[in-house]
Amino acid sequence: MRAHTTRAFSPLYDVVVIGGGHAGCEAAAAAARTGASVALLTHNIASIGAMSCNPSIGGIGKGHLVREIDALDGVMPRAADDAAIQFRTLNASRGIAVRGPRAQCDRNLYAKAVRHILRSSQHRSLTITEGSAEKFTLSDGRVTGVQLASSPKGIPADLRAGAVMFMGSKTEMGGRRGDISAVGIADALRLNGLKLGRMKTGTPPRIYADSINFEGIKEEPSDANPVPFSFLTEPSSMLVGRKLVSCFQTRTSIATHDIIREAMAAGLSPEYHSDNAPRYCPSLEAKVSRFGDRDGHVVWLEPEGLDSNLIYPAGISMSLPEQVQQRVINSIPGMKKGKIAIPGYAVEYDYVDPTELRPNLECHRLPGLFLAGQINGTTGYEEAAAQGVLAGINATMHVWDSHPDQHGALHGMSNFDCLTDGYLRLGRGDAYIGVLLDDLTRLGTAEPYRMLTSRAEFRISLRPDNADRRLTPIGREVGCVTRERWESYKKKQRIVEDARNVLRKTKASRVDFGRVGLERVFDGCKRRGNESMYLGDALLRSGVSLQAVEWVAHLEAELQYKPHIERQRVEVDKLRRDEGLKVSKEFDYRRVRGLSLEDFEKLSKEKPQSLGEAGRISGVTPAGILLLRAHVRRQLGKRKGKRKGKEEREVMQMKDEKLLWLGHV
């Protein structure tokens, strides 16, 4: 025992993460990016990146979290951008601050993308290994490691670590209730006095796509201009080489509700110990018993992947017997002949009352142990991942903090308020992640916690579009943001700043605004007479958007087409000079070689006195003008050339030599 204790001073890993779900992956990755050596323990490497419930990422409030995870260089956003097969921005018309980017993902592509990112060089200090944790190693009331059921290759069964993160107790697909090790760990938590609770969640039956008749139900195609989750994903590349699918919308019918009511009356609903089911994602049974008066509830038919024949019918999770589920499915328009591939079910699971946690997600009663994900009473991939990122960073800072000699503590040295306590403490004014952590650790939760925009008091400031600006500098300071992202962030901020200055400093008059139909931006203004307004201020008036301000489109075009505009400007200038080129009235147009007969006739008849006049003669072709111009210029050049031809030839020769010389370098 003594020998073990001494070995604990030089643990094999800084951080051990138990559980390879969304929280576990993000936690392990964040810890690795922050600089910790990390072991990620999972039962099955193949299940890493699995989407155990619906095959989509993001949505209202959740999309905000994903953008924030990205700002801290997390895994989920990039994986979702990679694996997306349908994009939709929810709430697109309801305001920029509440827009919810959402993507339907191919399950296989998503898992593949997650594994790819975890194995990439930014996570090189991360080891993923199969194994199951039996119990925690404690020393002086602190968690200093985990005992494994068996010793995986190269890893001792007595795994010591500076910090342990537990992301287990994840309810897996197929209805497994946690797993053996998670049960052991849950016991360990209970034995140490942590308050545990039970929650319930459910999943709908999966339907064979080829048994559904999509004719006549509402199709929801992908957005034409998808918005990526990751600030690193180039929006213009989103559609390149990507196969897209549609989702479909149908509704339950009165017949559906009758079947449910009948089955519930017959006592066919399984009994649960807990009523803590999510209010925000109720089972079909709950919908029918609570809102029985409604004639139908929306059902989204979501494809599970490009090569998958499965459809995930979102909105009808249920746990009735399979035959009843089959009747329910067949009562819904489009699924009259729908066949169930996997029936729906509900599961109960343990969770730790999150008020047991400090704001850095460390257990009050078990220092050194960090919890994140469903174990903390949340529901949803995004909520789990967001906690994972924070737990990963904070576990690493915890290790650094306990060995300041080796790492130098971050204590009190930061420019950021949220780092002055020795851990990353995002507040309600910083991020949705901050709202999530504050709600959980301060208030706890009695039902599965889901992120909503209404939970954010500072909703107008915590927008998806500025997540990077809010969090990437903090992430950089913590060390969890790669150089690549940091450079890209700085570049974007410079561009934004320039554009902002243009909008702030460009004034336009009432007449200018009137020309683009925006005269009313002056409505209610006190100024009279020679009114003008900065473009940036015009945006404050309702109904004005950047798209509507002509000058912004102009700016965009000017920047985007800059090389072409430059080239054309040279030509235009030339043309202007040429306009003034004189043509003699007696000029014999037969001398212009290549002039078409028609042009020749017209020019000979009209006898223009300048190239400009020639150009305005109707019917004369541009090609004819160009030929005439070349001829006139040649004549002009000959006359000039007689004067200084020799001199020019010498200069030209020197220039050519220089160019040749340059060309060789």
Partner: protein
């Protein structure tokens, strides 16, 4: 039981009230009502404080906040659960917000009655030098509060006296005399302050030396000074001016004096002899009563004035008015942003909803239900309350 002295200590100032507040037994307006009750000096102040302590104001404000919260819930539902709740739910709250806005505006438009009762009505005495302004002040105060002398320009700064005028708290300001021909910088500053006091006052008393003439010009000039004063919005300027024609003992009895000029009543007095003082005091009292109790109706909008009396709780502090004004502004922005013929010009839902949040927060700041830490310190340090 431990009666050990170390476990017992005297309560700090306002500690019990603070605890009552912190434990949700009292809201901030009740706490303020209690503080007002303790410091009340007049019957009307006590009456008002008791009503506020009893929760009248809280009930009104919480009613409004509940309505906003209910509207907010609809708006948030549309934003967070757009798949299940459609935009109609958002449109449905617009008339509700409109109704509430009307109600709140009505309360704001109360002629500052509550604040006047609580802080005392401000009465400014102005006029030419040596007209007898300080003599009037002393007569009202029934004590020599200001120095009086036959010399013009004795009073140079504003002298304030707090009075209980038959149950009404009144702050009477005696001011420096107004005249044209002076270069004394102190006197000029004094006159500036006098004019300011006149325009800030709820009621201005012009004291004029009847033996000197030029009274109509003086009245005209005082009306000008008060023009645009917020205090006259409801009643009109003339209703808040009283003219005193003093020193009638110096003019012949045969002199026919006017009783009004441009609807402004004129009281003939000889203040050194206490002649005509009781008529003046009675008139002042009546004028203040009308203003403070909202009964009768002085202004042209008689209907509103009579409606505003009695049962409706009033705004008693600038703090209340401040937050209520901000709430009204927020709701106005909401209304402007979500009504009109062209929905493409509407405020986006997130911004419009933010205005509702602001309104709820501002009203909550009055009762102290939310976001109160900053006001708490002020409230509890300002008063010695509730042991």
């Amino acid at each position: 039981m431990h009666s050990d002295a170390s476990t017992v200590r005297p309560a700090e100032r306002g500690e019990f009230t603070r605890r009552a507040f912190e434990n949700g037994r009292m809201d901030l307006t009740s706490v303020e009502g209690l503080a007002d009750l303790i410091s009340a000096e007049t019957a009307l102040q006590r009456k008002q404080a008791l009503r506020q302590l009893g929760g009248e104001m809280r009930d009104l404000l919480e009613g409004w906040r509940a309505e906003i919260k209910s509207c907010l819930a609809h708006a948030e539902a549309v934003i967070d659960f757009g798949d299940d709740v459609d935009d109609d739910a958002f449109e449905a709250i617009v008339p509700r917000v409109s109704d509430l806005l009307m109600k709140m505006k009505g309360h704001l438009n109360d002629g500052h009655r509550g604040e006047i009762v609580r802080g005392g009505a401000r009465v400014a005495i102005v006029g030419q030098p040596n007209a007898g302004k300080s003599t009037l002040l002393n007569a009202l105060a029934q004590r020599p509060a200001a120095i009086v002398s036959p010399q013009a320009g004795t009073t140079r700064d504003v002298v304030e006296v707090h009075l209980d005028l038959n149950g009404l708290a009144v702050v009477v300001s005696d001011t420096a005399g107004l005249r044209q021909d002076t270069a004394d910088p102190i006197e000029i500053e004094g006159m500036k302050r006098a004019r300011q006091a006149a325009s800030n006052a709820d009621i201005t008393i012009l004291v004029h030396d009847a033996s000197q003439g030029g009274m109509e010009t003086a009245i005209e000039s005082i009306s000008m000074d008060r023009r645009g004063s917020e205090n006259d919005m409801e009643t009109g300027t003339h209703a808040n001016i009283i003219c005193v024609a003093n020193k009638i003992d110096l003019i012949p009895d045969s002199f026919e004096s006017k009783t009004t000029v441009r609807d402004i009543p004129i009281f003939s007095t000889s203040l050194v002899n206490n002649d005509g003082l009781s008529e003046l005091t009675t008139h002042l009292e009546n004028l203040l009563k009308v203003r403070l109790e909202g009964s009768g109706g002085v202004g042209k909008d008689g209907e509103r004035s009579s409606k505003a009396q009695g049962s409706i709780p009033v705004i008693t502090r600038a703090r209340h008015r401040h937050h209520m004004t901000l709430a009204v502004e927020a709701l106005s922005v909401f209304m402007e942003g979500r009504t009109g013929d062209n929905p493409s010009l509407y405020l986006p839902m997130d911004i419009a909803t933010e205005e509702l949040r602001i309104a709820a927060k501002e009203i909550g700041s009055i009762t102290g239900i939310i976001h109160v830490e900053e006001v708490l310190d002020v409230v509890f340090s300002e008063f010695c309350i509730g042991k």
